[in-house]
C-alpha cells in the first residue's frame, strides 16, 4: 500500500516547527528568549501559507484512517490563524506574567498540532490521539503560571475533569466499536445503516455526547470552564475558548454526521436539549458575573449552545453554519481576550469595574471590545448576526422552539455585554493615564476589528468557502 506523505505536509511542518522551537529554547541563552515568540509566529505563518496553497490536495490515508479533505483544510486554517493571533497579540503579557519559560511557545504549537490531527481524524485511534495531544498540551498551558496558586488550581481542575471526560468518551468509542466491529468512521456509518440501533450503540452514543459535551463546555458538562478560564493565563484562555472548542466541534460533526447519521432520530433531541440548556444557563449565569474572564467563559458556554444548533440540523447547511460561526468566533473571542490581557498588563485586574473609562485610556482597545461583544451578541451588521442567521435558519423546520429560545437568549446576552460597554464608555476612569498596547497587540486588535466588521457586511466569500468545505464532508 503506497503512503502519500505529501498529504501530511501541514502536520509534518507543524511537528518540525514545534521541535525546532523547543530545541531553540534550550540552546538560546535565557536573555534572548523573547525572540522565540516571533520565531513561532513566523513559523506558523509559513505553515498557514503551506496549508492554504495545498488546500485542494486531498485524499485518504490508510483506508480512511486519516482524511485530508476540504472540511479538514478549513479547520486547519482556522486553528493556525487562532494560534498566530493568540501568540502575536500577547507577547507582553507572556513576558510579564507567564515568565521566561521556553516551553510555552512549543506547547502552544503542539496543542495546535493536536487540533489539526483531530480535524483530519477518520478513525477512533487518530481521533483519541489528537484529542489527547491537544488536551495534555492545554493542561500544561493552563497551569503555566505555577508561581500563582490560581493557575495551578485551574490546572488540576482541568486535568481531573478532562481526564474523566476522556475516559467517558473512550468508553463510548469502545461500545461503538463493540456494536459495529470497526473503528473507521466511514465503515461505522455502513455498519450502522445495515444493523440498526442496538442498545450497546445507544449507550455508546450517549457517552460520546457526554464526553464531547465536556470538551465544548455544553451545559450540564460546563462546570470546569469558568474556573479554568479565570485561572489560566489570558492568552491560554483565549486559545482554549476558540481552538479547543472548534476542534471538538470538528470531531463532533465527523462522528455524529459522518458516522452515526443513521441514528439521527436518537441523538438529535439529546443534542437539541444540550443546546437549549447551554444557551439558557450560559446567558443567565453570565449576568451577575463581576470578573470579565468569568463572564466571557459563561458567554462562551452560550456560544457553544448556538453552535450545537448546527449539529441538530445534521445537514450540509448545518455543517456550513457551524464552520462559518466557528470562524468568526475566533476573531471576536481573540479580540476580546487580547484586550483583557493588554488591560491586565497595566492595571493587574480582571474586574469589570476596573474597566471604567477605558475609552479615554485606550480608545482602540475599548472599540475592539465593543465590536467583539456586539458581534457575540449577534447585532447586525456585525459578523455574529450572519453566523447566527446561518445556524438558526437550518432548524426552522422541526425545532422552531430552539429558534425562539435562541432569539430570546441573544437579547438577554445584549444586556450583560452592554453592561461592560457602559462601564467602559460612560464611567470616568479612576486613573486617567493611557494604557499602551504595543505594536503587535495593536495590529492583532486591528485584524480582529476589521475581520469582524467585514465578515458581517460582506459574508459571501467565506460562506462560499464554507459551503464547498461542507460538501467535501459527504464525499467519503
Amino acid at each position: 500500500m503506497s503512503f502519500d506523505f505529501s498529504l501530511l505536509t501541514t502536520e509534518l511542518a507543524m511537528f518540525v516547527l514545534g521541535l525546532t522551537t523547543f530545541v531553540l529554547g534550550l540552546v538560546v541563552p535565557s536573555g534572548s528568549r523573547r525572540g522565540l515568540g516571533s520565531f513561532a509566529v513566523l513559523g506558523l505563518l509559513l505553515v498557514l501559507g503551506i496549508t492554504v496553497v495545498n488546500r485542494s490536495h486531498q485524499g485518504e490515508l490508510l483506508n480512511g484512517m486519516y482524511l485530508v479533505d476540504g472540511y479538514a483544510a478549513f479547520f486547519k486554517i482556522l486553528f493556525l490563524m487562532a494560534a498566530i493571533l493568540v501568540i502575536f497579540g500577547s507577547f507582553r503579557y507572556v513576558d510579564q506574567h507567564v515568565g521566561n519559560h521556553f516551553e510555552y511557545y512549543s506547547t502552544v504549537i503542539f496543542a495546535t498540532l493536536g487540533m489539526i490531527v483531530m480535524a483530519s481524524a477518520g478513525d477512533f485511534i487518530t481521533l483519541y490521539l489528537g484529542m489527547e495531544l491537544m488536551t495534555i498540551s492545554f493542561i500544561i498551558l493552563v497551569a503555566f503560571r505555577f508561581i500563582e496558586g490560581k493557575s495551578l488550581e485551574a490546572g488540576i481542575k482541568y486535568l481531573l475533569l478532562a481526564a474523566m471526560s476522556s475516559a467517558v468518551t473512550l468508553y463510548g468509542l469502545s461500545l461503538v466499536y463493540g456494536a459495529t466491529g470497526t473503528i473507521i468512521i466511514g465503515q461505522v456509518a455502513q455498519a450502522v445503516a445495515g444493523g440498526g440501533a442496538s442498545p450497546l450503540l445507544i449507550v455508546g452514543l450517549t457517552m460520546l455526547v457526554a464526553g464531547l459535551g465536556f470538551k465544548v463546555a455544553a451545559v450540564p458538562f460546563h462546570m470546569w470552564s469558568p474556573d479554568v478560564y479565570e485561572g489560566a493565563p489570558t492568552p491560554v484562555t483565549s486559545f482554549l475558548a476558540v481552538g479547543s472548542k472548534a476542534a471538538s466541534f470538528a470531531v463532533l460533526l465527523r462522528l455524529f454526521i459522518g458516522g452515526l447519521a443513521e441514528l439521527h432520530g436518537q441523538w438529535a433531541m439529546l443534542v437539541a436539549v444540550l443546546a437549549a440548556l447551554s444557551m439558557l444557563i450560559g446567558n443567565l449565569v453570565a449576568i451577575p458575573q463581576t470578573n470579565i474572564k468569568r463572564m466571557l467563559a459563561y458567554s462562551s458556554i452560550a456560544q457553544a449552545g448556538y453552535i450545537l444548533v448546527g449539529l441538530v440540523a445534521a445537514t450540509e447547511a448545518g455543517i456550513k453554519g457551524v464552520m462559518f460561526y466557528a470562524f468568526l468566533y475566533v476573531f471576536a473571542t481573540v479580540g476580546a481576550f487580547t484586550v483583557v490581557a493588554a488591560v491586565y498588563n497595566k492595571i493587574h485586574s480582571d474586574e469589570i469595574a476596573d474597566y471604567a473609562g477605558l475609552v479615554q485610556r485606550a480608545p482602540l482597545a475599548a472599540t475592539v471590545m465593543l465590536v467583539c461583544l456586539l458581534s457575540m451578541a449577534g447585532i447586525p451588521p456585525l459578523a455574529g448576526f450572519v453566523g447566527k442567521f446561518y445556524l438558526f435558519k437550518t432548524v426552522v423546520e422541526g425545532y422552531m422552539w430552539l429558534v425562539y429560545l435562541g432569539l430570546i437568549m441573544s437579547m438577554v446576552s445584549v444586556y450583560y455585554y452592554l453592561r461592560v460597554v457602559l462601564v467602559m464608555f460612560r464611567d470616568d476612569p479612576k486613573d486617567p493615564s493611557p494604557i499602551e498596547l504595543g505594536s503587535a497587540t495593536t495590529l492583532t486588535l486591528f485584524i480582529a476589528l476589521v475581520t469582524t466588521i467585514v465578515l458581517g457586511i460582506y459574508p459571501g466569500p467565506l460562506a462560499e468557502v464554507a459551503n464547498m468545505a461542507a460538501q467535501s464532508f459527504f464525499l467519503h
Binding site: G149, L152, L159, Y177
Partner: protein
C-alpha cells in the same frame, strides 16, 4: 476455540468497573484518589476493547492496538497529573480538592 465464555460477561465486568471508577472520581476528595479512579475507568475501556477484539474481529488486532494507545496516553496523563499535584502541594500543603477554593468551584 470454545471457552464457554460469552462477550456479555466482559461487558458486564467492564461496566461494573467503569461505574466504580466514575463513583470514585466523583465522590473522593483526594486528588490522587481521583486519579486512581480515572485509571479504573480507563481499565474498563481496555477490557471492553480487548474483549470485543476477541469476539468480533479476531483476525485483526484493532482493539488491542487501541488498548495499547490508551495505556500509553493514560501514563502520560497521570505523569502530568502527579506533577501538578506536587506543585500544588508545595503551594498549598494539601491535596484535598475541597481546599482548592480560591475560585468558586
Amino acid at each position: 476455540m470454545a471457552t464457554g465464555l460469552n462477550p456479555s460477561y466482559f461487558v458486564a465486568l467492564s461496566a461494573a468497573l467503569f461505574c466504580i471508577g466514575l463513583y470514585g472520581a466523583i465522590s473522593r476528595k483526594n486528588a490522587i484518589a481521583v486519579l486512581v479512579s480515572i485509571e479504573l475507568m480507563l481499565t474498563a475501556v481496555n477490557i471492553n476493547l480487548v474483549a470485543f477484539n476477541k469476539f468480533l474481529t479476531p483476525e485483526a488486532f484493532i482493539g488491542q492496538i487501541f488498548a495499547i494507545f490508551v495505556i500509553t496516553v493514560a501514563a502520560a496523563e497521570v505523569g502530568l497529573g502527579l506533577a501538578i499535584v506536587i506543585a500544588i502541594y508545595r503551594n498549598r500543603k494539601s491535596v484535598d480538592l475541597d481546599d482548592f477554593d480560591w475560585m468558586k468551584w
